[in-house]
């Protein structure tokens, strides 16, 4: 297992090495030590490898990830797994703002809480937050699912498109065009699969409420001007 100590190795070398991994590589499991809050750790990977980051990371950890499974044993700064395409990113601590922003695929799991704008402009990513999320989470969320086992802050799902939101706790307020929707068996099954993929067990899917778009703002109309 390659081990990279970021206290001794420049970040640029680490990311370049991760980018060089080819389909036939045997280096499929990496350990990264002493990230010490550095930004852009393990970004742009496009290989089915496992990367364990032992410590706290700064902005954009695992940004634009494809295929890889990145586990952070610590907290993550702004934009963890931003624009992720596929694979999985698992943060065992808390995450800052814009977690999973614009993600187009894959799964982001946060064991702790997520700050504001979690899942902003998400485009297909699935996000499971075991704690709570801050205000304006799922702002302009286009596709994918956001699951929150705790509470959600103000303006959840503001200007949401087709993303699905599942919240078990309290929602402080819903944003423009975001409404509560019926939780059907189909949605319960989908939620159960997401929770399972995130390693969450023993949770009653019936305790969640589902939110999504009322689709009233899909075409500009002057009568909706008060909503904008």
């Amino acid at each position: 297992m390659p081990t990279v100590d970021l206290a001794a190795t420049p970040l640029r070398e680490l990311n370049a090495a991760l980018h060089r991994i080819g389909p036939q590589s045997n280096e499929t499991h990496w350990r990264i030590l002493n990230p010490r809050g550095q930004h852009a750790v393990a970004v742009g990977i496009d290989a089915p490898i496992a990367v364990e980051v032992e410590g706290h990371v700064g902005y954009y950890c695992a940004g634009m990830n494809k295929q890889a499974t990145v586990v952070v044993t610590g907290n993550a700064g702004t934009g963890v797994a931003e624009n992720m395409m596929s694979g999985q990113v698992h943060v065992k601590g808390d995450v800052s703002q814009a977690a999973g922003a614009t993600g187009r695929g894959g799964l982001l799991v946060v064991d702790g809480n997520a700050s504001a704008r979690c899942g902003i402009s998400m485009k297909g990513i699935d996000i499971v937050v075991k704690g709570s999320v801050g205000h304006l989470s799922a702002f302009m969320a286009q596709a994918g699912s956001l699951v929150v086992l705790g509470d959600a802050g103000d303006a959840l799902g503001d200007s949401i498109y087709e993303a699905r939101l599942y919240v078990r706790g309290a929602v402080k307020s819903l944003g423009a065009d975001c409404v509560e929707k019926k939780m059907t068996d189909h949605h319960k099954a989908k939620l159960a699969r997401l929770l399972g993929a995130a390693g969450v067990s023993g949770v009653d899917v019936g305790a969640f409420r589902r939110y999504g778009s009322a689709r009233r703002l899909y075409h500009f109309h002057i009568d909706n001007v008060g909503s904008y």
Binding site: N15, G44, D46, M64, E82, M140, F220
Partner: protein
Amino acid sequence: MDTADRWIHTPPRRSATFDEHAIAEIRRAAATGLYDIRGFGAKRRLPHFDDLLFLGASISRYPLEGYREKCATEVTIGARFAKKPITLKIPVTIAGMSFGSLSAQAKEALGRGASAVGTSTTTGDGGMTAEEREHSSILVYQVLPSRYGMNPDDLRKADAIEIVVGQGAKPGGGGMLLGQKISARVAAMRDLPEGIDQRSACRHPDWTGPDDMEIKIHELREITDWEKPIYVKVGASRPYYDTALAVKAGADAVVLDGMQGGTAATQDVFIEHVGIPTLAAIRPAAQALQDLGQHRKVQLIVSGGIRNGADVAKCLALGADAVSIGTAALIALGDNDPHLEAEYRKLGTTAGAYDDWHEGRDPAGITTQDPALARRLDPVLAGRKLANYLSVLTLETQTIARACGKSHVHNLEPEDLVALTMEAAAMARVPLAGTDWIPGQAGRRS
């Protein structure tokens, strides 16, 4: 009418304040309850490059021989940090315009035309199409607030990356691609349903200020192994500080778009009333680069109302390294062509004034996703026309540069210019013609 009646009523007099356009807008707003959304850029009269003149060579300046002596035009962008800077053969590039706002044929034509003369094209909101990558020898990939179509594969396929903070038509504004232009392909590229209005955000989703932008640039460099030049594009409003902050954040180039810069769809009130003219933006931006010791190291690319080689030369003389064209490129492809007058009339407009680019009914097949209309544009022929136009821009720029004695177009300088109006003199920081007076400057030019 006898003499007495003649003086009862004065002749009809139209108001300069409530002019024909203002009255029509009030009537239209009252009838519809909607503000006007349109394409194109600012249409009002503004201080512009026409208000500047070059001082050709004279006894104290030595000109270069036209058609004989070399006047170089190449521009290298990205040498500050990128492992693979790009070199353009001419100082004119094609601005970012999306597939979605433009047809696939138009994007292909832009690529063909630009590549033929050795310059770059730029993607736009909505991601990179295979056609534009195939036909653009140098392609700049935009990272926009919406991140529609954003993916790391395209990032790596690009020759340069442009982080779009704003554009001249609407600094501080996002965009809206109306549902009628959202075809199945456009929708799929943007991860949204077909046929609905698509909002392009005004802010980036994962950073909020200049310090964050620095980290974002760092991330993009790490993802692309520090190969690609990274530009930062801003709409002209506070060009000195925006340029300085972009440099501080680690940009290789700054793209500065004045308020005449075009748009696919923006509120008319935004286009005409937010931002500053291109003419007024260049000197402050160049000054910021000079103050930071980065002039000609961090490249300044200026856009917004560039029409001819004189405009190009004036931008370069004021401190730009290159210019970028959008509206002019579309006109070169065939937009607003008089031979389509009958069809423009049916749309309630006329050739030269057509600006409802957001509606997708462009008879020229450029600003549309209607397959039948789009097929009207022959990308090979349109690309050839664009290449011709770009060549003319370059020849005109060289003509002026040689007349000023410059062996490279970058050797043009403010000292080569004078202004026809006090406004232009103040904005461009060059003397009023025939004087040594620069309004707003503490001292006179020696």
